[in-house]
Symmetry: C2
Subunit: 353 residues, 2 copies
Amino acid sequence: MAVNRGPAVIDCDIHNTVPSAQALFPYLSDYWREYITESSFKGPIDTAYPKGAPTSARPGSRPPNGDPPGSSLDLVREQALDAWGVEYGILNCAYAVDSLHNPDTAAAMASAVNDWQIAEWLEKEPRLRASIVVPSRQPEMAAREIDRVGDHPGFVQVFLPVRSEAPYGNRRYLPIFEAAVRHDLVVSLQFGGFPGNAPTGAGWPSYYIEEYVGMAQVFQTQVLNLIVEGVFDRFPTLRVALIEGGFTWLPSLMWRIDKDWKGLRREVPWNTKLPSEYIKERIRLSLQPLDAPPDPRHLLQIIDQIGSDDVLMFSTDYPHWHFDTPEEALPAGLPESTRRKILYENARAFYRL
Amino acid sequence: MAVNRGPAVIDCDIHNTVPSAQALFPYLSDYWREYITESSFKGPIDTAYPKGAPTSARPGSRPPNGDPPGSSLDLVREQALDAWGVEYGILNCAYAVDSLHNPDTAAAMASAVNDWQIAEWLEKEPRLRASIVVPSRQPEMAAREIDRVGDHPGFVQVFLPVRSEAPYGNRRYLPIFEAAVRHDLVVSLQFGGFPGNAPTGAGWPSYYIEEYVGMAQVFQTQVLNLIVEGVFDRFPTLRVALIEGGFTWLPSLMWRIDKDWKGLRREVPWNTKLPSEYIKERIRLSLQPLDAPPDPRHLLQIIDQIGSDDVLMFSTDYPHWHFDTPEEALPAGLPESTRRKILYENARAFYRL
């Protein structure tokens, strides 16, 4: 059932799911097809979205054939694009190539996913755009993959899992940013990742809820690091999207880093302005999942505290489950101009749509 | 120069500093005195407060004899206790015993620090209270140290560095919490720590500003973990203080964990109420350093968003440098009743003073 939302909408976070390694066979070489067929390797099996967690999939998003939620273009059209009157929907395929330690396997699987995205999503549905999946543990190989497909008009960003072996401002990752800038692509940091190191600054937690809630802290680490490493100074056209990491933590982080930067900036002399300015100019955040306070007034305060209505971009995070009705998807009580920016204009400008 | 602040004040964070390993010699056995004299080991040398960082020490806090800031009782009296009209000041000695990998060395140094605190601080100045330094890597030994000195009326809490090998809700740390509860002591998580693992959820950052700003994320990890591991359910009288970790991130964390707990609580069935309720009932946070927003109105919003005026406790964080004038130390525009709670009543109730 379509929900007529009036003016057009851009959904900056729709997850398309590779149903199985076999689905990638048309895009893999004989070598890898044979490897997958004859060995016990069937593609990456890690996922940040356990099948049984209610947040992982909204009711009704599993296709009738039993394939995973997010794997059916028809359902994406019906439940995400048509339902919201979406003009552009941006696909973020969370296929966990970063969990593969064999660099050649990771590169081959990433290329196959990207070719699969072109053939089975972008070429079939003109409303869709997509993110380039890369072997992020191997920055040089990731850059080659970005160069290989980065000029395809359907790709608008690079997909990096927010969890990583080192923060992404580390110089080892420069080739990825150089390649993204070369093709004027957004670099996105996305919920999840399998780097092998602990997901907190105090070692390994015990429960999935800690990984899920705590992912917001990993986003904060990456924002801080990208700024102070000078990545935005080095690449004046670089834009970074934070997808599925929440945003109510943003004012506190901006205040803390601005204050401490005033005392410690001699460490990072390449930063020529307040850290919060880099955030407001270069970073955008997806709206859902929304760490909604019980009092809607508090959410409006947070948006006011951010100090810009340019930074939030509407997302459903389909097929993940964060709200039951369209009315819950957007903060209540927003001024109409802010609402339009969140629903459409911010993403259009950021992704150059 | 004394600043008459009117009614009494409790300063819940004053750092007393061990000037050198030699200062602990009266409290060490012959074995350890000889060990320190004859080997290159001169006590832990790690510090979360680099000598050159302007945040590490306020101007004028270094004693004339060249010893480190925080090492002189006379200066603590003059610059912290008298200046603020302090009725009780709580000492937090950040001597980095947790950086020592030899368990016996760590235990010996911790005991020496506690006996030094009794003899040279608590018995000389009746306004002072103190935190028990423990070999936190060795929970059983830490519990023994808590049992050894925990009934001394000067000790009101246990000092744990917020950075740890595993989050403190991990069952390996239960002996520490059991011992603290046995002596009705607050358990405090304090800025810093040297566990050997990375201080972020995305590996090792490059700069001190990242460790400093990012410590707020480690506090968030620990709060989340203590709740979902059921530590507060297991110990109904346990109170936890978060010292020097900021607090403007608290509303966002409460919203996020409450929301996600609703979806994922079957993982942690021992939690019998909303996670934010444990925070409001059992956790208190020190006021400084204050991640102050440029707009004072936003700070009042944060305090309102927390949903309780019981959780903040005044602190100077002496001798660390976070504000220039007493007026900057407290948020402007607080209702008088909230101001009194922050300056005095919350800490008095929490520490049973």
